[in-house]
Symmetry: C3
Subunit: 273 residues, 3 copies
């Protein structure tokens, strides 16, 4: 199943419109290329509708939000909805400032997102319409663990129903949830949190996967999440003693570039609940 969704990305080479932050934008572009899709970046309000029209999917990330781009995000999102292109939201740091929180809610009100992806703190801010995240990382007390797994899934499923979106909660255990099903995914390495941008890369991967698999989006999102985590595991095995987080970053993108359907199918660690 995951083999198929990955191969669809490589075969269809979807063009992905990324409205993302300037911190990790280069990694986002390279990871989109690594998975076999094609990236375009554009955020001026005057061109985003045209740009998103020639693409197959739209990835919106509020990591370095500014007032110039908020309106552009809404316009692009609405156009993508109109054209029935898949749209993904990565509400980076929502809760850390009123601007981010208000913008996230404004986006969700104006645009239907096929997928909303965040860490548990970010998703809780969106679900409870309040709260404060610790910078761009999750609060430890919120983390999804084996102990609170049932409870966490129930909470995320509720939010998926409320938004009519697939919800992805990233962490040591990742959850990919829609109204009916939940993928509990246990790929990945803790060292991935020592690199900037693995979250932003994952949003872009998700966009590429669902744009090439519109008829099986939940599987596609699970495929993207497993690909990212498994790439982190493969990259870790390739690390030399003198390698640190900077080299690890490249080895992860390299592993995505080299990932094939069989490797993904065999290495993916998930259960469906």
């Amino acid at each position: 199943m995951l083999k198929e969704v990955l191969e669809n990305v490589r075969r269809k080479e979807p063009l992905i419109h990324n409205m993302t932050n300037y911190v990790t934008v280069n990694d986002v572009a390279n990871v989109v290329l690594a998975i076999g899709a094609s990236p375009i970046m554009a955020d001026d309000v005057e061109e985003v509708e045209e740009i998103t029209s020639i693409c197959q999917g739209l990835n919106i990330n509020i990591g370095t939000l500014n007032k110039r781009t908020i309106l552009a995000m809404i316009k692009a999102g609405r156009k993508a909805n109109e054209l029935e292109h898949p749209v993904v939201l990565d509400p980076v740091g929502v809760g850390a400032s009123q601007l981010r929180t208000q913008t996230a809610f404004e986006l969700i009100e104006n645009v239907h997102f096929n997928v909303i992806k965040g860490n548990i703190s970010e998703i809780k801010v969106l679900a409870f319409k309040q709260g404060m995240s610790h910078g761009v990382d999750a609060n430890i007390e919120d983390t999804v663990t084996e102990e609170n797994l049932e409870q966490s899934i129930a909470f995320v499923k509720d939010f998926a129903c409320q938004t009519n979106s697939i919800i992805v909660v990233t962490g040591a255990i990742d959850l990919v949830v829609d109204k009916q099903r939940c993928f509990v995914i246990r790929n990945g390495e803790k060292e991935m949190s020592k690199i900037t941008g693995t979250g932003c890369q994952l949003s872009a991967l998700i966009t590429a996967f669902i744009s090439a698999n519109e008829d099986q989006m939940l599987n596609a999102v699970a495929g993207a999440v497993c690909t990212m985590g498994l790439a982190g595991e493969i990259a870790k095995k390739n690390m030399l003693e003198t390698d640190g987080n900077s080299t690890y970053r490249h080895r992860i993108i390299d592993a995505i570039y080299l990932m094939d359907g069989e490797t993904l199918e065999k290495g993916a660690k998930y259960e469906i609940r």
Copy 2:
């Protein structure tokens, strides 16, 4: 000949003003350093004239265009013209939106560019003042091939006459064309399209090469194009089995850093028509 133009860059260490996109800007800075020149980035309308005045060349790239920077690009370009500094245009994604197309034409009307560099789809949009490019990549039907080579050269030469610029068309075969001569260049590897920013890096290299070789610009541009392609070939030879597009990106810049005149002279694959 190419040996000389490369050595002039390393000897003169020109300071290059880059007004470029935020996706690949870091690679652009590092490639300018790799070739032995020095980069400065500045795009605020209030400082671009001063900044370009202390530089030896100006590189304008519209990859992530926004309204704030368009006027700054025109001001910087005019100032560079006034000071007779070489100016390069990389019209990334022209044709993909009206904003990009209009901006490219506005730039060409207001600024004389010594070099305009694009893929064949981008150059056709500029030449025919219409058309649509497939995102930031070339349409397959437009590609320069051995079969349509004569015809392609004639078309590009016409556009070179019309603009009084050196025109660079990148692809599997690269063309470097002015009114009289054409370099047909066959360096490079197809995997270079799986990395973001090789095109942006090339524009910056071209600017460095012509700024250090004002009396032989066509040779200088050909030198830059051969350097980029040859670096791609050398980097590919250095790839390990676990390396992917992210590591390839660094190996290319590394190869440029280590490139000397003899290696370039020996490895360059071009004919002059």
Copy 3:
């Protein structure tokens, strides 16, 4: 002593607010993670006060200044002062344009900086309120050498008194100076100037170090400067024959990631005057 200041960073994991340029922002984020701190980037005037409030330190870098962010920098700086969070200024390219020079002075008037870090040309522009820097690199005639060391220290100490800041002058010899003491540091490699962003990375490191060592800021700044230089030395030892500036960049961040207190204590080359 340096062992202790490094270990405090790794133990306290300070959250660092970076208002920095779009050229090297990704490296800045990764180096902050490499040293064991946590980065957040935000520059919109509407959110910077809130963001800086949840952080432990603020890093302001004017490398790609634009009018949208200047006011945001002042607001963030004032808020950080109010909360007694350490604030660092990296006046990249001050003197190269009136906008940069005016902005640097405006920042210094409105915000108290615990540390101001620049090359000797940038610091001279700030001290003498005039002058022109050669792009973003120091003028050769200004360089701190063994010959003019006493004189240079006296000049920098004066400026430290005037601003009530710790002043860092980077170059072949680095100076870290407050009203009383001066660290003369001789770590580093000349190849570090062939990579974009080592200066920006250093400012971020300094912010992380002082945010975790508020009671011994001068030692903390010296620790950051030695860490960066020593990482450059270690990374150089790890270079292969086919490696160039791009790989060197990653090896430096890797070396910072792997740096422990003992390595730093043993490898740091400094004297206190």
